[in-house]
């Protein structure tokens, strides 16, 4: 969690940063049947990597597809139907990674049932299962008032943006970003600001763009010109 009580009993926001290390599992799939088989067995950390961590590792920032499974189905398996269905999975809607795994398997099984030869069609390139470790660093910075975010957000690293705006959706009880989770303590004072943040879709933006959008929203809300 990125909240802690201050001596005044108000809630302050602890600014964190994070970095990702990617670890190859050595598991790969050349065909969909293999992918399905491996999906049942791989560590859930692989699902985090292939769904959540895309934006924090060297990869293109404007992906047409929002998870690696959809991208593989499109680019290497050339099955557009499966790719589109997998692409619609929103990982934060699941309570945990096991539920996400189940959904992924269901969608693939459904597609396998529809198409006779698809499970055995050789992909142009294999799918490599990778897992990650996240190093979370406490920057020591604390934000006491939401208005301070106007100054702080433009200085945040991409790791901080990822941690508070994307990774948070996996950690917070309501599966929302850390800023909105923090504003709840002040409710209803910042409810309209929270609504503006909720409208920022992290799946279509780079981390740099998310930082810019957040900065813009905070500046506008608190009436601070650039």
């Amino acid at each position: 969690m990125s909240e802690e009580k201050t001596p005044e009993n108000a809630v302050s926001f602890a600014v964190k940063d994070c970095a990702l290390v990617s670890i190859s599992t050595g598991v790969k799939a050349y065909i969909l049947a293999e992918l399905l088989e491996h999906l049942r067995e791989v560590e859930v950390g692989c699902l985090y990597y292939h769904f959540w961590a895309r934006q924090l590792r060297p990869s293109f920032d404007h992906p047409e597809f929002h998870n690696d499974f959809a991208a593989w189905a499109h680019r290497d398996l050339h099955d557009w139907i499966l790719a589109e269905r997998l692409n619609l999975i929103a990982p934060h809607e699941f309570r945990n990674l096991e539920e996400l795994r189940e959904e992924l398997i269901n969608i693939i099984e459904e597609r396998v049932d529809e198409s006779g030869d698809l499970p055995w069609r050789k992909a142009a390139a294999p799918f490599y299962f990778v897992k990650s470790q996240i190093i979370v660093l406490d920057t020591g910075k604390r934000v006491k008032e939401p208005q301070q975010l106007v100054e702080i957000v433009p200085t945040l690293s991409q790791g901080s943006i990822f941690y508070h705006f994307i990774d948070a959706r996996r950690r917070t009880p309501d599966r929302i970003d850390d800023f909105r989770a923090w504003f709840q303590a002040f409710s209803p004072q910042y409810d309209d600001l929270a609504a503006e943040l909720a409208a920022i879709d992290p799946y279509f933006l780079t981390l740099t763009e998310i930082r810019e959008q957040l900065s813009l929203v905070f500046r506008r809300y608190f009436g601070v010109s650039k």
Binding site: A19, V21, G26, P58, D61, A125, Y128, V130, Q133, L137
Partner: protein, 416 residues
Amino acid sequence: MDGELLARYEAIVGTDVIDQLKQLAHHLQAARVVHVNSTRYGGGVAEILHSMVPLMQALGLNVRWEVISGEEDFFKVTKSIHNALQGHPVEFTEASVRVYEENNRREYEKLKEILEEADFVFIHDPQPAFLITLCPQRKGKWVWRCHIDLSRPYRPVWRYLRNIVSNYDASIFSMPDFTQPLPHPQYIIPPSIDPLTEKNMELPSDEVEGVFERFNLDANKPLVLQISRFDRFKDPLGVIRAGLMAMKFIPFQLVYAGGGAADDPEGEIIYHEVLAAAKDHPDIHILYLPPEAHRTVNALQRAADVVLQKSIREGFGLTVTEALWKGKPVIGGDTGGIRIQVVNHHTGFLVHTPEGAALRIRYLLFYKEKRLEMGRKAHQFVKENFLITRHLRDYLSLMLALISGNGERIEVEARS
């Protein structure tokens, strides 16, 4: 900390990136780090270490870079190991093993104390890999950094080396595609380029424009460029064919510039094949450059409108990274690391044939605005993903991960 060096990088990558490096490095301040490889100059590994080591030192780490030496017979053996790991069958005898291990033993005696005391030892590539078996008193974490594509190794040699590298605490590969099963974590860290080196630094515009006169090129005609060794895997003949096909539709000049590796006798043969294929065409220029022509390569890349890397097989493809960094869209072969750098319609185009390359040359030369927009995206893409600062961040993260256990999430407390 060396503030001056960090400030030079900060001017390029931004304060947030450098701040994050400082955060990570803070937790490793007392760590003694040793990099070991087999050459101080020449080749990608030495290039990376020339940038990485001063940066680590600038961040306050206690870093050494040690280079093992050897006689000709040692390097002959390690060259054959290198080739074998890339899939070429080689003769690897008991005598080869003896030469390899004996040389490592001699070098170990020189480095024994440093290696035993180090907190982190990064051994680069196979040449010094055997050192670990000679260092039972080691205190720190040992990591084998493999810069080679190990996806299809020549098995007899890999079996021998696997027994050695299995002793390491972890290994690092550039892509998941390059890995082999090993009994320890295999970290994925793509390589990088350094924006401050001669090959990638900003150049004065007259120096960039100077390449037109220097190489007898037409400054008023678009320039399409491939920088590659004369090597079949770079498909130089396919590049010429693509150029000739595209020239029927749109005027431009094609430059294929490269050299041959000293250890590659085929380079000379391919160079002459390329010359023959170009048939003295006035708009096709074949340049044979010396290996140290970094600044010339830089100027050519900056002078180009479109860059090709039409490889049939490729490692990571740092020439692609270099071109993208200079704001050039790249038409690249759909192979190796090119696949993660070239994103269709965003940073360039992936192609499979000379015909595909010809079509994309025409497209990019015709749509100037698109070309410029893709170039801008390409530069930003490299800035965020493939500069030495990201590379260093990955190393520091890995070091923290190694000393913090195997958890999926490692929480590090605030700096005091």
